[in-house]
Protein backbone atom coordinates (compact mmCIF):
# COMPACT_ATOMS: atom_id res chain seq x y z
CA UNK A 1 0.00 0.00 0.00
CA UNK A 2 1.31 3.41 -1.03
CA UNK A 3 0.65 5.08 2.29
CA UNK A 4 1.73 8.62 1.40
CA UNK A 5 -0.50 8.57 -1.63
CA UNK A 6 -3.50 7.23 0.24
CA UNK A 7 -2.97 9.77 3.02
CA UNK A 8 -2.94 12.49 0.42
CA UNK A 9 -6.16 11.33 -1.21
CA UNK A 10 -7.76 10.95 2.22
CA UNK A 11 -7.55 14.68 2.63
CA UNK A 12 -9.92 15.06 -0.29
CA UNK A 13 -12.38 12.14 -0.13
CA UNK A 14 -13.54 9.23 2.00
CA UNK A 15 -12.55 5.76 0.84
CA UNK A 16 -13.34 2.26 2.04
CA UNK A 17 -10.41 -0.05 2.78
CA UNK A 18 -11.17 -1.93 -0.42
CA UNK A 19 -11.08 1.27 -2.39
CA UNK A 20 -7.76 2.22 -0.84
CA UNK A 21 -6.33 -1.13 -1.85
CA UNK A 22 -7.77 -0.83 -5.32
CA UNK A 23 -6.43 2.69 -5.85
CA UNK A 24 -3.05 1.78 -4.47
CA UNK A 25 -2.82 -1.14 -6.87
CA UNK A 26 -3.30 1.12 -9.87
CA UNK A 27 -0.26 3.24 -9.07
CA UNK A 28 3.09 1.85 -10.13
CA UNK A 29 6.31 3.07 -8.55
CA UNK A 30 8.97 4.19 -11.00
CA UNK A 31 12.55 5.13 -10.18
CA UNK A 32 14.26 8.07 -11.80
CA UNK A 33 17.84 9.27 -11.62
CA UNK A 34 18.78 12.90 -11.50
CA UNK A 35 18.39 14.27 -15.00
CA UNK A 36 15.96 11.59 -16.17
CA UNK A 37 12.77 12.67 -17.86
CA UNK A 38 9.36 11.74 -16.50
CA UNK A 39 7.99 13.18 -19.74
CA UNK A 40 9.73 14.40 -22.86
CA UNK A 41 8.56 17.18 -25.15
CA UNK A 42 6.70 15.75 -28.14
CA UNK A 43 5.56 12.64 -26.31
CA UNK A 44 1.96 12.15 -25.30
CA UNK A 45 1.49 12.36 -21.55
CA UNK A 46 -0.22 9.09 -20.66
CA UNK A 47 0.05 9.13 -16.90
CA UNK A 48 -0.23 11.27 -13.82
CA UNK A 49 2.55 11.01 -11.27
CA UNK A 50 2.47 11.32 -7.51
CA UNK A 51 5.95 12.11 -6.28
CA UNK A 52 6.79 9.77 -3.43
CA UNK A 53 10.23 11.34 -3.08
CA UNK A 54 12.33 13.67 -5.16
CA UNK A 55 11.92 16.83 -7.14
CA UNK A 56 11.01 17.61 -10.75
CA UNK A 57 10.89 20.68 -12.93
CA UNK A 58 8.45 21.62 -15.66
CA UNK A 59 10.35 22.71 -18.77
CA UNK A 60 9.27 24.50 -21.90
CA UNK A 61 11.56 25.19 -24.84
CA UNK A 62 11.64 28.41 -26.85
CA UNK A 63 12.05 28.37 -30.62
CA UNK A 64 15.73 29.23 -30.20
CA UNK A 65 16.19 26.10 -28.14
CA UNK A 66 16.47 27.87 -24.81
CA UNK A 67 14.95 25.92 -21.92
CA UNK A 68 12.67 27.65 -19.44
CA UNK A 69 11.74 26.20 -16.08
CA UNK A 70 8.23 27.30 -15.23
CA UNK A 71 7.41 25.26 -12.13
CA UNK A 72 8.56 22.65 -9.66
CA UNK A 73 6.93 19.68 -8.00
CA UNK A 74 8.35 17.91 -4.99
CA UNK A 75 7.55 14.94 -2.80
CA UNK A 76 3.86 14.48 -1.98
CA UNK A 77 2.77 16.57 -4.96
CA UNK A 78 1.33 15.50 -8.28
CA UNK A 79 3.04 16.07 -11.59
CA UNK A 80 1.62 15.83 -15.07
CA UNK A 81 1.24 17.76 -18.27
CA UNK A 82 -2.53 18.07 -18.22
CA UNK A 83 -2.68 19.82 -21.55
CA UNK A 84 -1.35 16.69 -23.22
CA UNK A 85 -2.86 14.18 -20.81
CA UNK A 86 -6.42 15.33 -21.31
CA UNK A 87 -6.60 15.32 -25.08
CA UNK A 88 -3.70 13.03 -25.95
CA UNK A 89 -1.87 15.74 -27.88
CA UNK A 90 1.94 15.87 -28.01
CA UNK A 91 3.34 17.82 -25.07
CA UNK A 92 4.96 21.17 -25.57
CA UNK A 93 6.71 20.71 -22.23
CA UNK A 94 8.98 18.22 -20.50
CA UNK A 95 9.08 17.09 -16.91
CA UNK A 96 12.59 16.38 -15.70
CA UNK A 97 13.80 14.99 -12.39
CA UNK A 98 16.19 17.35 -10.62
CA UNK A 99 16.87 14.79 -7.90
CA UNK A 100 16.68 11.01 -7.82
CA UNK A 101 12.94 10.47 -7.54
CA UNK A 102 10.37 7.79 -6.92
CA UNK A 103 7.16 8.60 -8.74
CA UNK A 104 3.94 6.64 -8.39
CA UNK A 105 2.25 6.67 -11.76
CA UNK A 106 -1.29 5.92 -12.83
CA UNK A 107 -2.25 5.53 -16.46
CA UNK A 108 -4.94 7.57 -18.21
CA UNK A 109 -7.24 4.56 -18.45
CA UNK A 110 -6.77 3.59 -14.82
CA UNK A 111 -7.44 7.13 -13.71
CA UNK A 112 -10.69 7.17 -15.69
CA UNK A 113 -11.51 3.84 -14.07
CA UNK A 114 -10.76 5.37 -10.67
CA UNK A 115 -13.26 8.13 -11.40
CA UNK A 116 -16.04 5.62 -12.02
CA UNK A 117 -15.01 2.70 -9.83
CA UNK A 118 -14.35 4.63 -6.64
CA UNK A 119 -17.48 6.09 -5.08
CA UNK A 120 -16.06 9.58 -4.64
CA UNK A 121 -13.60 9.19 -7.52
CA UNK A 122 -15.03 12.02 -9.58
CA UNK A 123 -14.98 14.26 -6.57
CA UNK A 124 -11.32 13.46 -6.00
CA UNK A 125 -10.60 14.38 -9.62
CA UNK A 126 -12.49 17.62 -9.28
CA UNK A 127 -10.84 18.67 -6.03
CA UNK A 128 -7.34 17.77 -7.19
CA UNK A 129 -7.88 19.71 -10.39
CA UNK A 130 -9.34 22.70 -8.58
CA UNK A 131 -6.23 22.85 -6.45
CA UNK A 132 -3.89 22.74 -9.44
CA UNK A 133 -5.99 25.38 -11.17
CA UNK A 134 -5.72 27.77 -8.25
CA UNK A 135 -1.94 27.33 -8.19
CA UNK A 136 -1.80 28.18 -11.89
CA UNK A 137 -3.95 31.27 -11.40
CA UNK A 138 -1.72 32.46 -8.58
CA UNK A 139 1.37 32.09 -10.72
CA UNK A 140 -0.35 33.98 -13.52
CA UNK A 141 -1.27 36.81 -11.16
CA UNK A 142 2.29 36.94 -9.92
CA UNK A 143 3.70 37.21 -13.44
CA UNK A 144 1.34 40.05 -14.24
CA UNK A 145 1.65 42.13 -11.15
CA UNK A 146 5.03 41.48 -9.58
CA UNK A 147 8.43 42.49 -10.90
CA UNK A 148 11.28 39.96 -10.91
CA UNK A 149 12.62 41.14 -7.56
CA UNK A 150 9.26 40.67 -5.87
CA UNK A 151 8.83 37.27 -7.49
CA UNK A 152 12.25 36.19 -6.27
CA UNK A 153 11.41 37.28 -2.73
CA UNK A 154 8.12 35.47 -2.92
CA UNK A 155 9.85 32.37 -4.20
CA UNK A 156 12.15 32.39 -1.18
CA UNK A 157 9.12 32.75 1.06
CA UNK A 158 6.92 30.17 -0.64
CA UNK A 159 9.55 27.50 -1.25
CA UNK A 160 12.23 28.05 1.41
CA UNK A 161 13.19 24.37 1.26
CA UNK A 162 13.67 24.38 -2.49
CA UNK A 163 16.27 27.14 -2.51
CA UNK A 164 18.95 24.74 -1.34
CA UNK A 165 17.83 22.00 -3.69
CA UNK A 166 17.84 24.01 -6.91
CA UNK A 167 20.57 25.57 -9.01
CA UNK A 168 20.24 29.31 -9.33
CA UNK A 169 19.48 29.26 -13.04
CA UNK A 170 16.33 27.22 -12.56
CA UNK A 171 15.15 29.79 -10.06
CA UNK A 172 16.03 32.68 -12.34
CA UNK A 173 14.05 31.06 -15.12
CA UNK A 174 11.05 30.51 -12.86
CA UNK A 175 11.28 34.12 -11.75
CA UNK A 176 11.34 35.17 -15.39
CA UNK A 177 14.85 36.55 -15.84
CA UNK A 178 18.31 35.38 -16.93
CA UNK A 179 21.00 34.35 -14.45
CA UNK A 180 22.98 37.61 -14.64
CA UNK A 181 19.85 39.51 -13.80
CA UNK A 182 19.05 37.33 -10.80
CA UNK A 183 22.61 37.93 -9.63
CA UNK A 184 22.00 41.65 -9.83
CA UNK A 185 18.76 41.28 -7.91
CA UNK A 186 20.50 39.28 -5.21
CA UNK A 187 23.22 41.89 -5.00
CA UNK A 188 20.64 44.66 -4.61
CA UNK A 189 18.89 42.69 -1.88
CA UNK A 190 22.12 41.91 -0.04
CA UNK A 191 22.28 45.45 1.25
Amino acid sequence: MHQHLIDNISHLIRMSEEEKEWISSKFIAKQFNKGDYFLREGQICREVGFIESGLVRYVITKENGEELTTSFNKELEYTCNYESFLDHSPTKASIQCIEPSVILTISYDDLQALYTHVKEGEKFGRLACEYQYVLAIRQLGSLYKQDPEQRYLQFLETYPDLVQRLPQYYISSFVGVKPPSLSRIRKRLAK
Copy 2:
Protein backbone atom coordinates in the same frame (compact mmCIF):
# COMPACT_ATOMS: atom_id res chain seq x y z
CA MET B 1 -34.99 26.76 -19.36
CA HIS B 2 -31.59 28.33 -19.99
CA GLN B 3 -30.97 26.61 -23.31
CA HIS B 4 -27.47 27.93 -24.01
CA LEU B 5 -26.35 26.82 -20.59
CA ILE B 6 -27.88 23.37 -20.89
CA ASP B 7 -26.39 22.96 -24.36
CA ASN B 8 -23.01 23.84 -22.94
CA ILE B 9 -23.26 21.33 -20.10
CA SER B 10 -24.53 18.69 -22.54
CA HIS B 11 -21.14 18.76 -24.21
CA LEU B 12 -19.64 17.48 -20.97
CA ILE B 13 -22.16 15.11 -19.39
CA ARG B 14 -25.45 13.32 -19.97
CA MET B 15 -28.50 14.63 -18.13
CA SER B 16 -32.08 13.50 -17.82
CA GLU B 17 -34.80 16.00 -18.62
CA GLU B 18 -35.52 16.35 -14.92
CA GLU B 19 -31.87 17.07 -14.23
CA LYS B 20 -31.81 19.69 -16.97
CA GLU B 21 -34.82 21.38 -15.41
CA TRP B 22 -33.30 21.16 -11.97
CA ILE B 23 -29.95 22.60 -13.07
CA SER B 24 -31.62 25.34 -15.04
CA SER B 25 -33.67 26.35 -12.01
CA LYS B 26 -30.53 26.88 -9.94
CA PHE B 27 -29.10 29.48 -12.28
CA ILE B 28 -30.46 33.00 -11.92
CA ALA B 29 -30.12 35.53 -14.73
CA LYS B 30 -28.59 38.84 -13.73
CA GLN B 31 -28.34 41.94 -15.87
CA PHE B 32 -25.23 44.10 -15.92
CA ASN B 33 -24.54 47.41 -17.59
CA LYS B 34 -21.26 48.26 -19.19
CA GLY B 35 -18.81 49.04 -16.37
CA ASP B 36 -20.75 47.13 -13.70
CA TYR B 37 -18.87 44.66 -11.55
CA PHE B 38 -19.79 41.00 -11.40
CA LEU B 39 -17.30 40.76 -8.56
CA ARG B 40 -15.36 43.42 -6.70
CA GLU B 41 -11.90 43.09 -5.20
CA GLY B 42 -12.13 42.29 -1.50
CA GLN B 43 -15.53 40.62 -1.76
CA ILE B 44 -15.92 36.89 -1.39
CA CYS B 45 -16.82 35.21 -4.66
CA ARG B 46 -20.00 33.31 -3.85
CA GLU B 47 -21.15 32.33 -7.31
CA VAL B 48 -20.05 31.05 -10.68
CA GLY B 49 -21.37 32.85 -13.72
CA PHE B 50 -22.24 31.54 -17.17
CA ILE B 51 -22.22 34.43 -19.59
CA GLU B 52 -25.42 34.30 -21.62
CA SER B 53 -24.42 37.43 -23.51
CA GLY B 54 -21.79 40.09 -23.08
CA LEU B 55 -18.13 40.35 -22.22
CA VAL B 56 -16.19 40.67 -18.98
CA ARG B 57 -12.60 41.26 -17.99
CA TYR B 58 -10.63 39.87 -15.10
CA VAL B 59 -8.84 42.69 -13.27
CA ILE B 60 -6.05 42.68 -10.73
CA THR B 61 -4.74 45.81 -9.05
CA LYS B 62 -1.09 46.54 -8.33
CA GLU B 63 0.00 48.17 -5.07
CA ASN B 64 0.30 51.50 -6.85
CA GLY B 65 -3.37 51.26 -7.83
CA GLU B 66 -2.73 50.44 -11.47
CA GLU B 67 -5.31 48.05 -12.93
CA LEU B 68 -4.21 45.09 -15.00
CA THR B 69 -6.51 43.11 -17.24
CA THR B 70 -5.37 39.51 -17.30
CA SER B 71 -8.16 37.72 -19.12
CA PHE B 72 -11.50 38.00 -20.83
CA ASN B 73 -14.65 35.91 -20.86
CA LYS B 74 -17.40 36.28 -23.39
CA GLU B 75 -20.81 34.82 -24.12
CA LEU B 76 -21.10 31.04 -23.57
CA GLU B 77 -18.10 31.00 -21.24
CA TYR B 78 -17.94 30.72 -17.48
CA THR B 79 -16.53 33.41 -15.25
CA CYS B 80 -15.55 33.21 -11.61
CA ASN B 81 -12.69 33.90 -9.25
CA TYR B 82 -12.01 30.32 -8.25
CA GLU B 83 -9.31 31.27 -5.80
CA SER B 84 -11.90 33.07 -3.71
CA PHE B 85 -14.86 30.87 -4.57
CA LEU B 86 -13.24 27.65 -3.40
CA ASP B 87 -12.07 28.71 0.03
CA HIS B 88 -14.28 31.75 0.66
CA SER B 89 -11.30 34.11 0.93
CA PRO B 90 -11.55 37.74 -0.19
CA THR B 91 -10.76 38.11 -3.88
CA LYS B 92 -7.61 39.80 -5.02
CA ALA B 93 -9.27 40.37 -8.40
CA SER B 94 -12.39 41.94 -9.83
CA ILE B 95 -14.58 40.87 -12.71
CA GLN B 96 -16.00 43.79 -14.64
CA CYS B 97 -18.46 43.85 -17.51
CA ILE B 98 -17.04 45.53 -20.60
CA GLU B 99 -20.36 45.27 -22.42
CA PRO B 100 -23.94 45.07 -21.19
CA SER B 101 -24.15 41.45 -20.09
CA VAL B 102 -26.60 38.81 -18.98
CA ILE B 103 -24.92 36.38 -16.62
CA LEU B 104 -26.55 33.23 -15.30
CA THR B 105 -25.30 32.72 -11.77
CA ILE B 106 -25.30 29.73 -9.48
CA SER B 107 -24.44 30.03 -5.80
CA TYR B 108 -21.71 28.05 -4.09
CA ASP B 109 -24.21 25.96 -2.19
CA ASP B 110 -26.32 25.23 -5.24
CA LEU B 111 -23.24 24.21 -7.18
CA GLN B 112 -22.25 21.80 -4.42
CA ALA B 113 -25.81 20.51 -4.52
CA LEU B 114 -25.49 20.10 -8.27
CA TYR B 115 -22.40 17.95 -7.77
CA THR B 116 -24.29 15.55 -5.53
CA HIS B 117 -27.84 15.79 -6.82
CA VAL B 118 -27.07 15.38 -10.53
CA LYS B 119 -25.84 11.91 -11.42
CA GLU B 120 -22.81 13.10 -13.39
CA GLY B 121 -22.55 16.35 -11.47
CA GLU B 122 -19.09 15.70 -10.09
CA LYS B 123 -17.91 14.76 -13.54
CA PHE B 124 -19.23 18.03 -14.90
CA GLY B 125 -17.31 19.87 -12.21
CA ARG B 126 -14.15 17.99 -12.99
CA LEU B 127 -14.34 18.48 -16.75
CA ALA B 128 -15.21 22.16 -16.49
CA CYS B 129 -12.32 22.69 -14.10
CA GLU B 130 -9.90 20.72 -16.26
CA TYR B 131 -10.75 22.98 -19.17
CA GLN B 132 -10.17 26.15 -17.17
CA TYR B 133 -6.93 24.73 -15.86
CA VAL B 134 -5.60 24.03 -19.33
CA LEU B 135 -6.43 27.58 -20.39
CA ALA B 136 -4.50 28.93 -17.41
CA ILE B 137 -1.50 26.73 -18.21
CA ARG B 138 -1.49 27.92 -21.82
CA GLN B 139 -1.51 31.54 -20.73
CA LEU B 140 1.32 30.83 -18.33
CA GLY B 141 3.37 29.21 -21.07
CA SER B 142 2.73 32.16 -23.32
CA LEU B 143 3.92 34.63 -20.69
CA TYR B 144 7.10 32.66 -20.18
CA LYS B 145 8.09 31.94 -23.70
CA GLN B 146 6.64 34.64 -25.92
CA ASP B 147 7.65 38.28 -26.12
CA PRO B 148 4.97 40.99 -26.19
CA GLU B 149 4.92 41.16 -29.97
CA GLN B 150 4.31 37.43 -30.30
CA ARG B 151 1.63 37.55 -27.62
CA TYR B 152 -0.12 40.37 -29.42
CA LEU B 153 -0.08 38.43 -32.67
CA GLN B 154 -1.40 35.39 -30.90
CA PHE B 155 -4.12 37.43 -29.29
CA LEU B 156 -5.26 38.61 -32.72
CA GLU B 157 -5.30 35.02 -33.87
CA THR B 158 -6.97 33.51 -30.84
CA TYR B 159 -9.60 36.18 -30.23
CA PRO B 160 -10.19 37.84 -33.62
CA ASP B 161 -13.72 38.79 -32.59
CA LEU B 162 -12.61 40.49 -29.39
CA VAL B 163 -10.26 42.95 -31.09
CA GLN B 164 -13.18 45.10 -32.19
CA ARG B 165 -14.92 44.80 -28.84
CA LEU B 166 -12.04 45.87 -26.62
CA PRO B 167 -10.21 49.15 -26.10
CA GLN B 168 -6.54 48.96 -26.93
CA TYR B 169 -5.38 49.45 -23.37
CA TYR B 170 -7.11 46.30 -22.16
CA ILE B 171 -5.33 44.39 -24.88
CA SER B 172 -1.98 45.95 -24.04
CA SER B 173 -2.45 44.99 -20.42
CA PHE B 174 -3.35 41.41 -21.32
CA VAL B 175 -0.29 41.27 -23.57
CA GLY B 176 1.80 42.52 -20.67
CA VAL B 177 2.85 46.00 -21.80
CA LYS B 178 1.70 49.62 -21.54
CA PRO B 179 -0.31 51.33 -24.26
CA PRO B 180 2.63 53.28 -25.75
CA SER B 181 4.51 50.04 -26.14
CA LEU B 182 1.61 48.31 -27.87
CA SER B 183 1.47 51.28 -30.22
CA ARG B 184 5.12 50.73 -31.05
CA ILE B 185 4.50 47.05 -31.63
CA ARG B 186 1.59 47.81 -33.94
CA LYS B 187 3.74 50.30 -35.81
CA ARG B 188 6.51 47.73 -36.27
CA LEU B 189 3.99 45.19 -37.53
CA ALA B 190 2.36 47.65 -39.92
CA LYS B 191 5.33 47.37 -42.26
